[in-house]
Symmetry: C3
Subunit: 263 residues, 3 copies
């Protein structure tokens, strides 16, 4: 079965940078399957890339190699990384980009990228994606053992989002507003249901109060605001066929507050 490499970057779609990665990979591992996750991560927003990666990497078959590059520190002393979770490999800069993955699957193993035998030569100081990360991912796909890429390494894990649980309130924040305008928070389903138990939730965001959770977008009237557990498994605030993010004017980091009616 042909190996799979996915690509997630902030390179955009108007230049040739993504294609350069793919060309280099195909030169090393001709039978690889290349699948784009997204190249529209907000420029140099490591946090946003880390969240996006964590929402999708497990939908791919075991053995998939995820190449992720959001790299404001390219060419400086930050290390490169290869990470193995029980089912997947991940390759990219060690700047927190794999933080959410590491928290979801704490049984990871990591190596830094030191063995330049698996890099392209010469290495451009401004494009490690093409010259280090892509070749390393391709060599992994071609069967090189991750241990050969460099010594064991402790990845940088960032603590970007805060969740504060009190007795009667649960406070979180917006992680992402998606293409449809759905507002995705950092409050995961288990935390939310543990907090609510049988009681009805009150959700408050940017002065708007919502009561209870719905199941689908379409069960509310056109344009109506609602809260639900989205397909990523996090609490979302949405508006049926409307862009909730723009309506409320929220952005990454906007606080959300839950309370409940339990006595």
């Amino acid at each position: 079965m042909a190996p799979i490499i996915t690509l997630l970057t902030d390179f955009g779609l108007e230049d040739g940078y993504v294609a350069s990665l793919k060309g280099v990979i195909l030169g090393i591992c001709p039978n690889v399957r290349l699948i784009d996750i997204s190249h529209l991560v907000q420029t140099q927003d490591v946090r946003s890339g880390a969240f996006l990666l964590s929402t999708v990497y497990k939908d791919f078959p075991p053995g998939t190699i995820h190449l992720a590059i959001v790299d404001p520190g390219v060419g400086t002393k930050r290390q490169g990384l290869v990470l193995r979770t029980p089912d997947h490999f991940l390759v990219g800069p060690d700047n927190g980009l794999f933080s959410w993955v590491c928290r979801k699957e704490p049984q990871w193993q990591a190596h830094c990228l030191e063995n330049s035998q698996y890099w392209r030569s010469p290495v451009s100081p401004t494009f490690h994606g093409r010259d280090i990360f892509a070749p390393v991912a391709a060599h992994l796909a071609a069967g090189v053992a991750m241990e050969r890429l460099g010594p064991r390494w402790e990845p940088h894990i960032a603590g970007w989002t805060k969740m504060v649980r009190g007795d009667r309130t649960l406070r979180g924040e917006v992680i992402h507003v998606d293409h449809f305008g759905n507002i995705i928070t950092n409050l995961d389903e288990k935390t939310v249901t543990d907090f609510a138990q049988a009681a009805e939730l009150q959700i408050e965001i940017e002065g708007v109060r919502l009561s209870g959770l719905t199941v689908t977008y379409g069960e509310q009237p056109f344009g109506a605001m609602m809260a639900l557990i989205g397909s990523h498994g996090y609490l979302e605030i949405a508006a049926n066929q409307q862009h909730a993010g723009k309506q409320l004017g929220v952005k990454t980091g906007t606080p959300v507050r839950l309370s409940h009616s339990r006595p």
Copy 2:
């Protein structure tokens, strides 16, 4: 020969939703070829997605499976559908998305999606794309007979656009303004030439009058407005190297009126 699945959605390119579809498909049918049609269908605009799909699906080899998802009613009672035309399969929500295809090729056969054995489990109420349509398309690609997916079904066929033919006038409307600003109408080549016969056509749109049809964009001076039969086989209004759609301020639904000089 490896099976082909194309993907057409309104999911956008900045999230991981499209990649989730692909990951799920590759888990079920590892040797499938995945080709994007577009993921920039106007959000929840079923009509626009239906038109786009109809302009391109026949350019793919026989046996291609077209996975199309523009699904404002996700999670509600609308059915899922698999449709077979003489050469192709199409999978998606039964909300009119296949209307133009069904009119182009009336020899279709359709089944609704009821057999949850071919779905992902659990099914998220807000992401049937990942959990129902993508797995079903992948199982089709892997050789499952469409009859096993659910019972026969009469698909919803929408009558969005109007064409009114009088003795001396033919009235239609704008279906789509493309990336280049070409204004594509719902008046197909056969209807237009039957109407005009040997006489010269007069085309009127947003107060602008054009006489006769040209063959290529480049035969007119830079910026000049013209009417022609476009590559989709419909009457188009274009401007050489300029964005006709913006110049005329038209949008989907803007009326267009044809007359002729025959006595």
Copy 3:
């Protein structure tokens, strides 16, 4: 090993035009690998497409076929072209789109596209991409010799950008502003280092003066403007984690002036 066809166009991502190319190609050469370079070349900007193509085509394995279509003269008398460099094939309109490639690798050989046996039939006068260029690229991938596509041909080579070297100054211009806002000039590394020799460079663009070259973006403070040799091998002006292009208000053609401190 499966052949590779890359695609570079100004077709955008919201229509079905790119998918039509791919469908047609897969019908002729089912095992081909399709890789997008970009479809967001500025509409009908041949110069911009020519530059983009030249920065990335050599990153692909030998034998790769690059299908490039930016074609304001579609349907007029401009010829179609297949070009062979030592390692690659390129297919597209003969309107200057391969100018930079031809200058980088002067050992090219070219044929025009005259043999309609390798075209789709009928040919739409407004979509040669689908009906001529894509089928020709697919037949090449399937093993047809380029000599069979048409007679030898001298491609149109455009002289878009100017570089003027005086004794104490080197004048060039902006070719491209990338997704990150890096300002890429037409001054290549060899020209710049030959000019500077051991002396420190002074770079002037839109009234801003910079001294010397840096190596990486990250070695400057956040937002600081700098000059460096970018990953394409050209002089770039950049701002650490900021959009230099917007800050300076430059566009394609904006002049850049270098001087040096040598006595």
